[in-house]
Each structure stands twice: as structure tokens, then as C-alpha cells.
Symmetry: C2
Subunit: 343 residues, 2 copies
């Protein structure tokens, strides 16, 4: 039983840092693409057997120290009644994004067991098939990220529609964010009950908000979701890419057990800034560095590990792995972590 | 003669901060759209009379304290031989992005007077037509931003192609960056000779780089371009949106007279971090706040001005103005700056 990941989350002594990669069950793996040829993305997410098959692939193929359930952050908005499609090359899209007050009223509060049972089934099956080899991570999108996606309807560079709401009708934004925080929290609790041994909150669109808006519309609801999830006793990871300036505030407001560090943030700087906090750090190799020759990947990975210091650190990328990274390069990263020892 | 802007750049005493807006000659103005109906974007950029017409619009219509020549950062790559098109809703696109070593060899060094004379003509005409009403700003893209655009060929979220080069063939990247730094510097000098009274360097894609890559591939070349431009004696503004973590390093490495602050950065924090540097600050209202009701725009603008402190500050947005902002709201911002006085 490899429990390196859970020990590092709790800042217990480890022989070496554990390693996994965000989006490790993904298109860079030929074995993933083979499954993907038989089923579209949402079918894979919605079919526990398929979701578990790809969840286990990086454990079997690369030897990562944790599995993360194959799913999507947008399953919650979908469970709230929003029609979702994911098309190749376009990405996820809500067909009727929230724009008018009536749109907001149509959204209903989801039940984890009734509306998201397929994720819970996948977690149960994954735990069984993992049979203790490595811990299993559950996850959810954070309230701001979910709400802004529900409003934009698709990926955005300016987040114009969502940010317009924040200044034109902040009350309506707060009302939906509060509902989302409860839904996200309840979903994470249900995931732990179904077998998740740690959970990660992704506030992927934190990058859209300046400090004032982040403090008003993202942080309190991220904190509320973390608070609910921490009631289960499993480690909770908070990751707000693009908000590296806010690490101290996120740590203080959320009480998360682990802080995800994005690749834009200097690792040594993050460690220094959070040194007096009772939390572990996760990250943060630039995913684009996996295009480098193996010797360079190895060197930069070792430098990153040294910057984090070896204890209370979970090695990861600072963002999801790119789909066109050669498997050999992903393996170089994992192997580089495994061979490293703190000086 | 309104020289508030130039005085603020030099940190001389001002009665109130000057104000202008990045992309102030833009689609949010009906008068701009009227010109745009008669000519496409690149024709406007390439025709001094049209470029000057829209350059002057925000001075006449909104009463901003500086004009910035209407142009595009991609005129330099275009002058280096890269075919460029700008299509409505798609944005700028290079038809043959740099991917192979042969692509890089095709790029030629531009002559400001021969290849970019239309920009210089526009500056001369604009100075004449402004007749001293407000100062005229010239600008250019910074080397990293230009190179990454030349490699990607169009807007990107991951900057995968450009960043791949940095780890796979850093030598080739450095060679092109050095050429770009000289080209950008020479172009800025020519702009000043043609009448620009200040120049701004946009390192718009700084956001694509983590600290290590920024220090190796962006900062030295931004600094070299600033150094060349400062030889003219006019104020040089450096703006690297998305690299708010690096303000101190940019100030130290470039010696810029003015540091642009993006909307993601807390104004009071930027001021504190740069307090001991001999430079002025420019920014940084979140452009999305211009969707707010006028009373909210006014309040947030006044808070922003107070955070910067009133002296050595040029009021601006923290990014270009969005095309769908009502003109009345843009005017609320400008008026709010003009009525404010430091307590």
C-alpha cells in the first residue's frame, strides 16, 4: 500500500515526495485515446466502467502515486439542469448560458446521490479496482469558476459576461455563489463517502478576477466549500491558478490542508510565503517544460523538488498536462521525482 | 498646452493625475466604428489620415490627457516579411507562423523608415493636428510578445508552440529575440524622431511565462528595447500584463520611467513594492468595471486614485478598454479622474 500521497498531504515524514499529474488521465496517453474512440467525452464521464478504466491508466502505465477520478468540473452545473456538450476542438459548452434573471431562476439545487450518482459509482468502483495500490482523489470546481462558466457558456479570454454581472447585479451573483458553495461542499462529502481519500477544489477561473473581486466573489465561497469538505476528515487541496498573489489569503481563509501552486509562481517563493502555515504544497512544474528533452525535464524537476524542500510537498505540474506531450516525457517527469532524494 | 501626462511621467508635481485609456481609439466609439466601416483594420493602420482621425477621437470626444497613435504591435513582424491579416471576430493572424528553422531564416531585419514609414507619417500628422493640445504616445510590442505571436500565428491560451521552442531550441529563440530587441528599439527611436513624446512597450504575452522563462526570454530583451528607447530622452513606459509578481525585477532590469500596472495587481500593493524606485506608475482600473453604473465607476476610480496617491501616477485602465463598453461609462471614468483631488 503506497500512502506517500496521503502522508505528504498531512505533512508526515516521507522518503520522497509523491507525484501525480493534473489531467493525468488524458489524451497524451494512447490508451486513453483508444477508449475515447469508442465513446465521447461525456459518455466516458457518465459511464463508471469507462471512467475507472482511464482513471487507472496513469497508475498502471506511469506509476503515479495517486489516482484522480476521471470526471469534469462541469458535472455540477449539468446536475443543476444546464444542458452541456463537449465537442472536439471546441471544448465544453452550455447551450443556454445564464444571462437573464429568469435564467438564474431555472437553476435547481442538485442532489449528489440522485443527480451525480454516476460519479459516486465511479469512485466506488475505482477504489475497488485500485485495491489499495495508491490513494484515490475526488474533485470539484469551486463556486466562482462554476458560476462564471455557467454565465459565459464556454471558455473565455475576457470573462466579460460573468464579470459584468459582478458590477451590475452583485446580489444575484452572491445568491448563486452561495448555492454553489453548498452544492460543491455536499458533492465533495458524498465523494468521500463513496471512497475518495482526498479531494481537490479547482478555482480554475480565479485568473479572471482582480484582488478586490477575488476577495468578494471567489474566496469566501471557495472557503465555504473547503470548510464543508474538511468535515469529512480527508485532506482538502485548494488550487486557484492565476491567483498566486493570494496564496496567503487563500491559506488563511480556507484552512485547506494542501495548497496547489501554479506554474506561474516561483516555487521557492511560495514555500517561503507559506512557511508558517500548517499546510502542504502541491505543484508546480510548467507543463510546457514536458516538451523538453528528458535530461532537461529531469534537471528542472529536481530543481523544483529542491525548491519545495522534500517534505510536505506533492510533486505535480502547475496546470494540467498538455494533450500532445509524448508519454516518454511524462514518464521522465514521474521517474525524476521518484529518483530524487532531499539533500 | 496640457502637459499633465508628461509631468506625471517625470514625477513632477501635478494638480491631478492625467488620464488616458489603453485602446482608447477603439470600437466602443461610434465615431471609430464609422471609420472602420469605410476601411478594414490594417488599412486604417496603414493609412496615416485614417490612423490620425481615430487617434484624435478620444481626445476630442472624451477629453483624455494623452493621445496614443493608432497602430498595432504586429507591424514589426509584418515589416520583417510575415504576411498578416486581421479578420473580424478572429483577430490578427500570421499565415505562415514560424515553426521550422527555415521559417526563422526567412525573417528579415526591418528598417523603420523604409518598412514602417506609414507609422512615422501618422505620428508626424498626429502631432500637427494635435497642435499641442495633449502629448502623443508611440508604442511597440516587446520582443517576447512579438516572437511568441510570430510562432503561434494567432492568439493562444497555452502558447504551446512558442514555449516548446524555449525548451527545445533556446539558442534559436535567443537569436530572434536579440534581433527583435534591436528592431523594436530602432522603431521606438524613429517614432520619437517623428514626434512621439513618450513611448510604451507592451509585453502583452508576459502572462505566458513562469518566473524562470520570463527572466531568461522576456526581461532581458524588454530591458534592451527600453534602454535603446531611453536614449531619446522621452519617458518610456513598460507594461507586462500578467507579470505583476515581477514589478520590482522589471523596474530594476529595464530602468523604465513608468511602470504599467495590470488590473490583476492591487494598486496599493504595487505602489508599496515600487516606493523606493525612481519611476511613475500607470493603471489600473479593471476594464470590466466600466460595465458598472456610473456611480460605481466613479467610486472605484476614486479608490484607485487614492491607492496610487495622486503624484507620479497616470490614471488608466489595467488593460485595453472592451469594445462593448458604453461611451458614457468610459466618460464616467475620465470625468471621475478629472474631478478627483488627492486628500
Amino acid at each position: 500500500m503506497n500512502d506517500l500521497f496521503l502522508r505528504a498531504c498531512r505533512r508526515e515524514p516521507v522518503e520522497r515526495p509523491p507525484v501525480w499529474m493534473m489531467r493525468q488521465a488524458g489524451r497524451y496517453l494512447p490508451e486513453y485515446r483508444a477508449v475515447r474512440e469508442r465513446a465521447d467525452f461525456l459518455t466516458m464521464v457518465g459511464t463508471p466502467e469507462l471512467a475507472v478504466e482511464v482513471t487507472l491508466q496513469p497508475v498502471d502505465l506511469l506509476g503515479v502515486d495517486a489516482a484522480i477520478i476521471f470526471s469534469d468540473i462541469l458535472v455540477i452545473p449539468q446536475a443543476m439542469g444546464m444542458a452541456l456538450s463537449v465537442d472536439e476542438g471546441i471544448g465544453p459548452r452550455f447551450h443556454q448560458p445564464l444571462r437573464t434573471p429568469a435564467d438564474f431562476e431555472r437553476v435547481r439545487d442538485p442532489s449528489p446521490t440522485e443527480d451525480l450518482g454516476y460519479v459516486l459509482d465511479a469512485l466506488r468502483l475505482a477504489r475497488r479496482e485500485l485495491a489499495g495500490r495508491v490513494p484515490l482523489i475526488g474533485f470539484a470546481g469551486a463556486p466562482w469558476t462554476l458560476m462564471s462558466y455557467m454565465i459565459e457558456g464556454q471558455g473565455s479570454k475576457s470573462f466579460m459576461h460573468a464579470k459584468r454581472l459582478l458590477v451590475q447585479d452583485p446580489g444575484r451573483a452572491h445568491a448563486l455563489l452561495a448555492r454553489l458553495a453548498r452544492a460543491v461542499g455536499a458533492f465533495l462529502v458524498a465523494q468521500v463517502e463513496a471512497g475518495a481519500q482526498a479531494v481537490q477544489l479547482f478555482d480554475s477561473w480565479a485568473t479572471a478576477l482582480g484582488p478586490r473581486d477575488f476577495r468578494e466573489f471567489a474566496l469566501p465561497y471557495l472557503a465555504e466549500a473547503v470548510r464543508i469538505a474538511r468535515g469529512t476528515g480527508v485532506p482538502v487541496i485548494a488550487f486557484a491558478p492565476g491567483a498566486g498573489w493570494a496564496l496567503e489569503e487563500i491559506a488563511a481563509a480556507t484552512g485547506a490542508d494542501v495548497m496547489g501552486i501554479d506554474w506561474q509562481t516561483d516555487a521557492a517563493d511560495a514555500r517561503r510565503r507559506l512557511a508558517d502555515r500548517p499546510l502542504a504544497l502541491q505543484g508546480n512544474l510548467d507543463p510546457c517544460w514536458l516538451y523538453a528533452p528528458p535530461a532537461v525535464i529531469r534537471k528542472r524537476t529536481h530543481e523544483m523538488l529542491a525548491a519545495f524542500g522534500g517534505q510536505g510537498h506533492i510533486a505535480n505540474l502547475g496546470h494540467g498536462i498538455n494533450p500532445d506531450v509524448p508519454v516518454a516525457n511524462a514518464r521522465s517527469f514521474v521517474d525524476a521525482v521518484k529518483e530524487w532524494r532531499a539533500p
